[in-house]
């Protein structure tokens, strides 16, 4: 299987924006260091669960157009998120499932058919140093992840070989006794459709009123909830620029810069809202009309430039209850995966059922 520093994944083509992300760099915002992290933290978590990793482990976030990767060792992986059409050696492979690839396999992604971002987890995780406690890539400051940047053609990604080996060894004998004509095998089950992100064609986003909500005109507030906004092409990991009804602020004075967070909907003087996402700066000086419920950030991460979104109001208590529900779902998935793992039953055929 190789020594302690086995190179494991060769990047043949890097894709549009492929970078290592985990659950974010927490505790350093007061130094001006942004949080970053996986935009769809739900798909990121499930991808890790499916390969037996802790949810805090880094995954490879792939955006709109995915990479082409060569696996130089046998690997247990999973791919969750939007549908970037993964194929191994030319054949479709299941997503939201555990997948074992044979050494030499070429995993190729194409463009996002549905959704926007997908997450590749490898059993054992990626072997990069944590910076300020996190493996997330802070692209603008060249910190963290893989050499502080997005992947480029010709890069080599190292995974944790010791943990990888034990994952593969733990898999049933049918794998090690020969793959036969097959390059990859998977469990016959995958995560159910209703427990996935990146499957819906349109998005209804739940929001709470922001601190400056009352200082916007009544008409603006009505239109915020009754009309659609389009996510413009000037949208990225820092934030989504929304095009739709103009939001008019009636506040008396210039706002003093205050904290913002993921999902803050801020409105500059032109009235076109900006919805802040993972790579937002730590401070904002624009009035905040709304705040997206944390549970819906993952949904937003799967919205592409050009797509439309609508907002609906939710209370703080309900938004927090939704977070608790999601935590329960993740605990259930973790338990179900562990249970099915024990049962074994890796299959060569697409003989699938859902958790």
């Amino acid at each position: 299987m190789g020594g302690a520093h086995t190179v494991m994944i060769r990047v043949i083509r890097s894709g549009l924006l492929t970078s290592l992300q985990d659950l974010g760099r927490l505790g350093y915002q007061k130094y001006g260091v942004i949080v970053s992290g996986a935009m769809d933290d739900y798909a990121h978590r499930v991808a890790n669960l499916l390969v037996g990793n802790p949810v805090e482990e880094a995954t490879l976030e792939m955006t709109l157009l995915g990479p082409t990767l060569e696996f130089q060792v046998d690997a247990l992986i999973s791919i969750c998120g939007g549908d970037l059409q993964p194929r191994v050696n030319g054949r479709h492979v299941p997503q939201w499932a555990s997948l074992m690839l044979k050494k030499g396999s070429i995993l190729e992604f194409a463009s996002a058919r549905v959704g926007c971002r997908a997450y590749l987890a490898v059993c054992g995780g990626y072997d990069v140093s944590a910076v300020m406690g996190s493996k997330s890539t802070y692209l603008r400051a060249n910190i963290g992840g893989f050499q502080g940047r997005a992947l480029q053609d010709g890069d080599y990604l190292v995974c944790n070989p010791t943990r990888q080996r034990s994952c593969v060894q733990a898999a049933p004998e049918s794998i090690s006794t020969g793959w036969g004509a097959c390059d990859n095998i998977s469990h016959p089950w995958s995560v159910g459709w209703r427990a996935r992100t990146g499957v819906a064609p349109s998005a209804m986003i739940r929001v709470l009123p922001g601190p400056e909500y009352e200082a916007f005109t009544e008409l603006s507030r009505t239109r915020l909830f009754s009309e659609a906004f389009q996510v413009s092409v000037q949208s990225d990991r820092m934030g989504y620029r929304l095009v739709g009804p103009v939001m008019e602020y009636q506040g008396h004075r210039e706002m003093i810069s205050e904290g913002v967070t993921v999902g803050t909907v801020q409105v500059p003087s032109d009235g076109n809202p900006i919805l802040l996402m993972s790579d937002r700066q730590t401070m904002g000086g624009y009035p905040r009309i709304a705040q997206v419920a944390t549970v819906d950030i993952a949904t937003l991460a799967q919205v592409k430039p050009g797509d439309a979104i609508r907002f609906t109001e939710v209370s703080l208590l309900d938004a927090q209850e939704l977070l608790r529900q999601r935590a329960r779902l993740l605990r259930y998935l973790a338990a179900a995966i562990a249970c099915r793992d024990k049962e074994g039953g890796w299959t060569y055929a697409p003989d699938r059922f859902e958790l």
Binding site: V131, M132, S257, E258, T282, M283, L316, Q320, L323
Partner: protein, 233 residues
């Protein structure tokens, strides 16, 4: 001045709360913020993830699975009550050596001309009094400094530069600051410091912190170059 015994609590979504301690950008607000931050960091608030100070407020990020908004606010109110009774520490003064003008300060001449001063007068005024670090934001380690004398205030450049070298000291209106990393920017660049404002491997990772006082020290080009050689990166 906003009465400091009644902070305002504003939810920022379901996982953060803004604690407003003042209404104006002024040293008194900064003192309230600094005191509250110190008390928060000494206490252990259930569910708390991190606290981020700004000009007049502290944003508290929390895990909604570990605490309710109500419980958190009650706890924060108690912490604030205790913090008001503490004696505030004197702020830390950080000396920042700056080589003004020449290649390091390409806009110094413009700032001088704009204000009807000589370049050496601009340098003297800029380095005369210490500046209060209101907060760190916009970029890692970037200090928002208050207290620029209006005699050297200069508007931003009409067209921003695409890339500003790290360590550049600039003026924009009545604000002054130091760029810790290479970014685009529209500030008038008057000098550069050989000090590193942001070092990700250190603890803490920034040279300056909210509540510090910055004292600029003019140095020569020769001194600047010697500094760079002796300081490991």
């Amino acid at each position: 001045m906003y009465p400091i015994d009644r902070p305002e609590f504003l939810p920022l979504g379901d996982s953060a709360v803004v604690v407003r301690l003042g209404q104006e950008i002024e040293p008194a607000s900064q003192r309230s913020v600094r005191q509250f931050m110190r008390a928060l960091e000494a206490d252990s608030v259930p569910g708390l993830i991190e606290c981020v100070p700004a000009f007049t407020s502290v944003t508290v990020f929390y895990n909604a699975l570990d605490t309710s908004y109500e419980n958190l606010v009650h706890h924060l109110q108690r912490v604030h009550q205790q913090s008001v009774e503490e004696i505030s520490e004197a702020p830390k003064v950080v000396e920042v050596p700056v080589c003004y003008g020449g290649a390091y300060g390409p806009d110094l001449a413009f700032v001088a001309e704009h204000n009807g001063l000589s370049e050496s007068e601009v340098i003297r005024i800029h380095a005369s009094a210490p500046y209060l670090v209101y907060m760190i934001g916009f970029a890692p380690g970037f200090p928002y400094l208050g207290g620029v004398p209006p005699t050297i205030a200069t508007p931003r450049r009409k067209s921003p530069r695409l890339s500003i070298p790290p360590g550049s000291v600039g003026i924009a209106g009545t604000q002054t600051g130091v760029y810790p990393i290479s970014t685009p920017g529209g500030w008038q660049l008057i000098g550069r410091t050989p000090l590193s404002l942001f070092q990700p491997q250190h603890n803490p990772p920034t040279l300056l912190n909210s509540g510090d006082l910055v004292q600029f020290l003019p140095i020569s080009k020769a001194q600047y170059e010697r500094w760079e050689v002796h300081t490991p990166s």
